[in-house]
Structures are given as C-alpha cells and as structure tokens.
C-alpha cells in the first residue's frame, strides 16, 4: 500500500517534472524569441531611420548645392545689374541710340503758394457756384 502510494507519488512527480521542463523550455524559447524580435526590430528600425536620414541628407545636400548655384547666379546678376546701371554705361547707350535727352531746366518748375482765402469771400464764391 505504502509502495503503491510511493509509486503514485513518484509517477505524479515525473509527470509533473516533464510538463514543467517543457513549459520552462517553451518560456525560455519564447523569451529568446521575444528578445531576438526586439533586437531585430530595434536594429531594423535603426537601419530604416539611418536610411531615411541619409536619404534626407542627400536631398539636403542636393538642395544646398542648388542654393549655392542660385546664390552664385544671383551674385552674377547683381554685378551685371550694377554694371548696367552705372552712368558711363547709360551714357554710352544714350549716345548709341541717339536719344534726344536734355538736362532739366529748373526754370520749368514753379512753386505755388496756397493762401487761405478769407471766409466771407469763400462763402460768396460758394454761393455763386451754387446758383
């Protein structure tokens, strides 16, 4: 009886151990898988972010280059504008096209002084105009 009981106990223990080992292995594998997954995910994320960063960097570099080229063109145009707006150049063109330009004469300009008319006269003028 006691042997039987012992055996039963023993059997129960063996059964218990087998299932316990399996679950432990399963848990360990699951954990490993999870950690590997996380690592895989993080690495992939990092690679993906790096890739995006590099792509953006490449775009930025391209835009920077474009800006640099445009700046140089602007600088070039600025110098050309200064050259074309200088008086020696304008004078040369006036002569070239034989433009009939002449210097302004200050006597053409007259200054008018507006004085306020007396109130009565102003009223009379208004009345006349209303009639």
């Amino acid at each position: 009886m006691s042997v039987h009981i012992r055996n039963l106990k023993k059997d129960r223990g063996v059964r218990k151990n087998k299932s316990g080992n399996l679950s432990a292995v399963f848990v360990t594998i699951a954990r490993l898988l999870f950690i590997s997954g996380v690592i895989f995910f993080v690495v992939n994320l990092r690679v993906s972010i790096n890739e995006k960063a590099e792509s953006l960097n490449r775009d930025a570099a391209r835009i920077k280059k474009k800006i640099h080229t445009l700046n140089r063109e602007i600088e070039h145009l600025k110098i050309q504008r200064e050259m074309l707006s200088s008086w020696p150049h304008i004078k040369r063109k006036i002569n070239e096209f034989n433009l009939p330009l002449r210097s302004p004469d200050p006597s053409q300009v007259r200054s008018l002084a507006l004085t306020e008319a007396p109130r009565e006269k102003r009223q009379q003028a208004l009345n006349v105009s209303q009639r």
């Binding site: 960097n57 570099a61 063109e73 600088e75 070039h76 110098i79 050259m83």
Partner: protein
Amino acid sequence: MIRSDSISVRIKLAVLVFVISFIALAARLYHVQINRHDELYSKAKNKYTAVKTDKGKRGEIYDYEGNLMVGNIPCSDIVADPINIGEDKKCREICEIMAKKLNLNFNELYKKLSQKTRKVTRDGKKYTYPNRYALVESKVDLEIAEDIKKELESKKLRGITLQDSSKRYYPKNKLLANILGFISVDRDNVIGVIGVEKFFNNKISATSARVTFERARDGIPLTYSPEQEQSAPDVKDGLNIYLTVREPIQAIMEEELDNLMEKWKPKAAYAVMADPYTGNIIAVAQRPTYNPNDRATMMAEAWRNRITEDIFEPGSTMKPFAVSGALDEGVVKPDTIFECEKGRWYYAGKLLRDSHPYGMMSVSQIIQKSSNIGTAKIAISMGEKRLHDTLRNFGFGKRTGVPLKPETRGIFRQLKKWDKLSITRFPIGQGIAVSPLQLVRAYCILANGGKYINLRLVDRIENPDTGVVIKMPFEEGQKIFHNKETHNNIVQMMKLVTQEGGTAKEAAVKGYYSAGKTGTSQKFINGNYSESNFFATFVGFIPADKPAFVLLVTADEPQRSHFGGTVAAPAFSKISEKTLRYLNVPTDYNYEEVAKK
C-alpha cells in the same frame, strides 16, 4: 552502441572543425584588427574621407547709398582629368570645344589633355604617375562655363569638371578707380596693391579653412561624422566697406573731368568734393586713370593716387586763409585799404608782381582781384607768428586722415625755418606745397565757419556674417575763428571772385551764390619757377552762405590757357550745377532779384 559511437565521433569532429575554424577566424581577426590596424584603417579612411578648402568671400566695397563699387563675380575654373577623358578621339573633340569657346590654342590644349601620365623625379629616381589633373583655364565667365558644360554633357564627353571660383570685379570700371585700388593674386594670397583695397586689406580679406569630412560613395557628406564636427570650419567673409562717396555725383564729376581733359589737354587733372560740415568726401576723381578690370591696358603712371600723393604750390588759393587770419585777429577789416604798388613791389630785395597794375585796394578787392602784393602786405601786418599759426590751424603740414596710403604731409616749414621772404610768399601760395586733399580740408574749415575737421572717406564697415555695422567716427575739432564776423566777412569777399569783376566769373552757377578762389601757380622745375608749366586751380563752396559742398578742380599743365579762372572754373561750375540739382538744393533766396539788377 556502434551507431552511438559513430555519432559521438562525428560530433567531436564537427566541434573540432568549428573550434579550429573559430581559432583561425580569431587569429585572422587579430591579424586584421590589431596587427594591420593602422594600415587598413588609413586605407579605409582615405577611401571615405575627403578634404575640401572652404573660403569666405572677400568683402565688398559700396558707395554711401549702397551701390556696389567692388564685388566678387562668380566664375569657374575648368579642370580636366586626362585619364577620365578616355580615347584620343574624345580628347580631340573636347579640345575643339574648349579651344573654340575659350579662345585657346588647340594644339597646346591637346598636348595638355592627352598627357595621361606625369613623370616625377624624386631623390634622383624617376617615377611615373597617372595624370589626373590639368588646369584648362581659370576664372572663366559663368555663362561660358555653363555653356561648355552643357555641350560636353550633350555629347557625353567625360573628364572635365567645373570648380567654383570667383574673381574681384569692378562693375563701374573706371569710376573711382584710383580710390578703390585693385588687388593682385599670388597663388591663394590676395594682396591689395593700392587704394582702399590695400588700406583695408586685413579687414576685407576672408578667412579660409580646410574641412575634413566623411563622404558616401556619391561624394555627399555623411550626416554623422565626428571628424567633421571636430574640424568645424571657422570661415568668415571679409567685412564690407561703405564709402562716403556718392556714385551719381562721382559720375557727374568724372564726366566733367573728361570734358576738361578733352578741352585743355592737361598732363593730369583732379577734382575733389567734400561736405564741409562732416568732412565726408562726396566725390573724387583724377585723370589719367585706368580700368581695373582690364589689366592689359593699365599704366603704372595712372595708378598713382594723385590726390594724396601729389603736392603742388596752391598759388592764390592760399590767399583766403591769410586774409581770414588777419580778419580774425582784427588786424584788418574788409574795407581796410592797401597800396598795391601798380603791380610791382620789392620786398627783402626781391620783386613781387601782380598780374595787373593795381593801385589802392580794399581787402575785399584784394581777394576779388587776387592781388599778390596786397595779400603780402596784409600778411606782413599780421606778423610771422600769427600767419604761421593761422595756416597751421587750417591743417597745412598735417595729414587729412583719409584711409589711403601713402599720404603726404605737404611742405610747410616750421616757423624757425622761415626766411625774410616767407611772410610775403607763403600767403600767396608760393614756397608751400599742399596735396589736393589738404586744400579741400582747409576750404571745408573755411566754409563751415572755422571748425577744424578731418576728411572721411569710409562711412561705415559692415560685418556680413553678423550684420553688425560699425560707423566710422566723425571727430569735430576746435573752432579756429575767435571773431564771429570772420566767417561772414571772408565768405562775402570770396563771393566777389565769381561775380562781375572777379577772377572766376565762369565758376558762377545760375541760381546760387558761390564763393571760391582761383589759383594759377607756376610749377617749380629744376630750382626755378617755370614760365610755361602751370597748375590751374579753382576751389570754392556753394551755396556760399550755407554750403552743400566744397569743390576743388585742378589741371596740371593745361594747354592753350593756364589760368584757374579759365580752365578749372568752368568745370567747377558744371559739376556744381549738376550736383546741386541732384541734391535738390534750393536756390539762393535773393538770386533772382540780384540778377534783375
């Protein structure tokens, strides 16, 4: 049992193989990572590391209103890689395009680009290297360079690259050339040769830095590069200089100076205009001059900055200073009468002459008619000490303070070195030599009511990186006139010069009173005063009572006539008229009434 043994052996073998492989791998890793670390690391570094030189922009020079006078025009250096060019047919094709677009000799270019190797002798041994660099042309105009690039791309020709560069450019060509100066480039060093370019060379020079960066395969810098962060470049653009000169007025002056040169054919001519209250130089021009963009036609004689380096005897233009001193000291009054000795007067055994035989004249008439004898007598009544101090107070013998080098002090003897004749010769502008700028400064002092000032050529300096603007200081000196009436009296006398009966009627400007003085000085050649070589000068200010500017016009050895009133005064009038109109200066209140009379 047998089977299990065999499996065990296999496993052991496999483990052994793995262990051996691992050991071999570890050994290899040790060899690569530790033993050959330096060699391989430097190889890899060379592969992904690039070095470039970042250069800032040389500062620009502007006029007072911000019109660009000196800038940097972008251009390209065309560089070839003979190895990359490829076969001979392609090389010829490239050479044809380049020679045509850049006006180069085809054969010379072909010789340069077809050379695939270069030989170097080092330590007595000859080495042959692949030739990967040949400069085709430097400083090529941006448009031409782009044109070449497009044509090469369309024909799918390789091996030619355009490198960004820039060159100093003077968009106004001859305008203000002597003041702006120019630079010379010695390899990468920029040297200011003359003018503002030289004086402010340190300030307008840009800094450059070598930048090391890690790059991707396509040459683009990587986002993260510790080396790049460590060697962050400290590249700064040069400072921008803003002059006091105003371009439109400068153009007016240069145009009229050209007319003077054409009409009177002098050896040289110069004009300077300044604001009498601030000392700002508004315009300054000289002839002969040069075009700094065209080095081939530049003559050394034209480089010299005559307004600061040249000196000349001012002649009668000195008279107002001596007379103003005498008025201020109370020695004479405008109506004090002097005997002008019918044009011939001996003093200290030497003859002094007038251009006309004048008799009794008031001080005002002495200035109006420009009598040497009258002025000498006024100076004698002043005494040597007071005359010396007066002229010194007007800045003769002192530099004007403009940022141009070299600048002369002129010739003005110390009092102890004066001889008996000095008192009669210095007030009429003989035995004393001044630079054009010194004379203009002295007239500024006279025009502004007697306040000592220094001339200013640079108004402000701007840092283009930070936007900070540093205004150049304006130093107002002491008032040199003690008598309130002195300024008014001398101005009234100088007004007479440009009116009927004066020596410079042609300096008058319709609508304004102008005050000034002519000067016709003989040149001192080989110890004697020349009878044929003269300086013809007119210097004055306008409107006389509240001057907008002081203007000096001088012709050095004019032909056909040598009088300041004939040669320089008309140019003064024309420049003044146009400038007054440009500045919108109101006409003098009484002028029309005076004209009617």
